[in-house]
Point group: C3
Chain length 258, copies 3
């Protein structure tokens, strides 16, 4: 496996405290030439599914051999395992709590280890700095996965809300609201494959088809489109869909089909 000498960082630490900087300091101390790229640190505190979705959206664009450090870890200090996983030519490092549900790390080809905790003195509350950051640095340096811990068979996964596929109807839901107020759903193109779409509905919004881009409708009007991550999205041209439509995460999105 080639090494990209690159570590991405994802957490729910926010940027006001110095927790992210502390993780970076530890990584740089071990691997002075590594490149660090922030994925996001604004995950809602403790929201593992939101973190899993964020990681899903970004990891595959990074070069092969990248190390993805993800720390949303409400169970820090408990018995949940600290993990490093190799899958699809990438490395994933973080707690075993479902963070990797939507990336190849949870797939059949993945090789996972339960990390040793002897990289540096380990606090009971900041494994991001004391366990995960050093492990990420060692992987970025090219140290074999097997040296970092004991092999584990399976890792924890959390399910996305299920899509209901019935004759005449496909029912999904909103799983993410982005910075612009666009509403991302769990519906993928394959959920509608082989069906003739008659209508799409969520809250007050009813459309007869999936649009291509925001400017397909007049300013202020709302639409459905396949977004840049291949998910059905509800958006309003130059408007905040969540506020305009009164919708949010968990609300239903339905497609009427023949």
């Amino acid at each position: 496996l080639s090494r990209a000498n690159l570590v991405t960082l994802l957490s729910d630490f926010g940027l006001r405290d110095t927790y992210v900087a502390q993780m970076k300091a530890v990584i740089i101390g071990l691997d002075p030439t590594v490149r660090l790229v922030d994925v996001t640190h604004e995950v809602e505190p403790g929201n593992v599914m939101e973190a899993a979705l964020a990681l899903e959206s970004a990891w595959g664009l990074f070069p092969e051999g990248s190390v993805h450090l993800a720390v949303v870890d409400p169970g820090v200090g408990s018995s949940r395992a600290p993990l490093a996983v190799e899958a699809a030519g990438h490395f994933f490092v973080g707690p075993d709590n479902g963070l990797f549900s939507l990336v190849p790390a949870s797939g059949p080809e993945a090789r996972a280890v339960r990390l040793h905790e002897d990289f540096r003195p380990v606090s009971a509350t900041f494994h991001g700095r004391d366990v995960f950051a050093p492990a990420a640095a060692h992987l970025a340096l090219g140290r074999p996965l097997e040296e970092l811990g004991e092999a584990v068979e399976a890792i924890r996964t959390l399910p996305l809300p299920e899509v209901l596929l019935e004759p005449g109807v496909v029912m999904g839901e909103i799983i993410h609201m982005d910075h612009f107020g666009n509403l991302v759903t769990n519906l993928r193109p394959w959920h509608l494959e082989g069906r003739k779409l008659l209508g799409l509905r969520t809250g007050p919004l009813l459309r007869h088809s999936v649009s291509r881009t925001y400017s397909d409708v007049p300013e202020g009007e709302c639409l459905f489109l396949w977004n840049s991550a291949g998910r059905l999205e509800v958006a309003c041209r130059e408007g905040h869909a969540a506020m305009l439509l009164g919708l949010g995460v968990g609300d239903a999105v339905g497609a009427e089909t023949d």
Copy 2:
């Protein structure tokens, strides 16, 4: 033209989603050694003039040969052109919607091309990742501007609010409120050149002259000064001028002169 191997990034994407990370991943994939510097990603969604002002304040401090990637793109997917521009020894990449109104990219010496859209598969809603980021990477790598698109004659510009120059009075307005609540205006030193200043007024604040720095007045008091970007600014010592004075973007600022 020398190359700085540096790409700056400016957007209205915020830092909670992974859009910025996705752009960085694409750039790094093409140019593994490039340096990336965030200018800001907190531009108000869709506010092209705010983005133009942010770019104006920062670009010229970066080394010659830098590439400035700016994506505030409410018209993504519409017919607005994707641009790369070379001007004043720097490169500017982004949509043709006025973003470059306040930098040399809109000046007479600029060379602009309308970008090809064949760098990677292009989504209808995220040209920042699919068109602009790859173009920025190619420029950072030293690829000639002309190879990236067809020459265009002129690019779009948006005007800053005009300054009124009358006998005895110069009228400007507030164009930006910064993080500290300082209020930046469209008034420049040359607007007052050759006039004797008798007074400055905005909302409830009246001063007889331009101060040098915040500590020229007692704590809590407000003043006018020429700020670090050469614009007239309204500030309150260790206070939030916008809140203390009840002022914001669009409010008038007047100078009485002889």
Copy 3:
């Protein structure tokens, strides 16, 4: 002293304006290969003690020879001295207003200079860009401290709120609320050394001992623990301690001892 070719940045500038980017541009212009790491830019405007605590929490994890640029500078343009300090194998650059109270820069082994202000044209309101950033770059490049200014004897320090040590009781206070709502105090393990702990109290929370980690109590319950920086912290498992307990910076924390 070895050089890490690394500059950390800490400020109260926020990330919406381009002030941080302007400082980075100046540093890169002088030292094109330097590594830049943000510590935080979300310090409350003008809150020097909050900045001092942030710097304390992070500096020591960075490699020897790192340069720590810290700009929380409400007195910019006044007579407060611009400083560069060498201490404990690190460099510290910023205004002389107490920012370095909690790092070795304020210790007896420190060597401090009052910076010259001739690195670049100096504005009256942005010494972060015009004085401190260039000084940090020169130090990162290996230029000797003595060349950057005149030696000064002592630098300003601000005291942390004092811990009261009485027979039977140790009284401290909350000095920081983090992103998770955890409440950090000025109590250190040595304040309790040689005493038998009978109880800990803050606001409505009473516990008989210091816990090890969040998961030592059921979800939603609150506890005291020694945090990853070695300070007594008040936290609630998967909850926001400040909101749940109605506490914040300045509130008292008491230990009953024998």
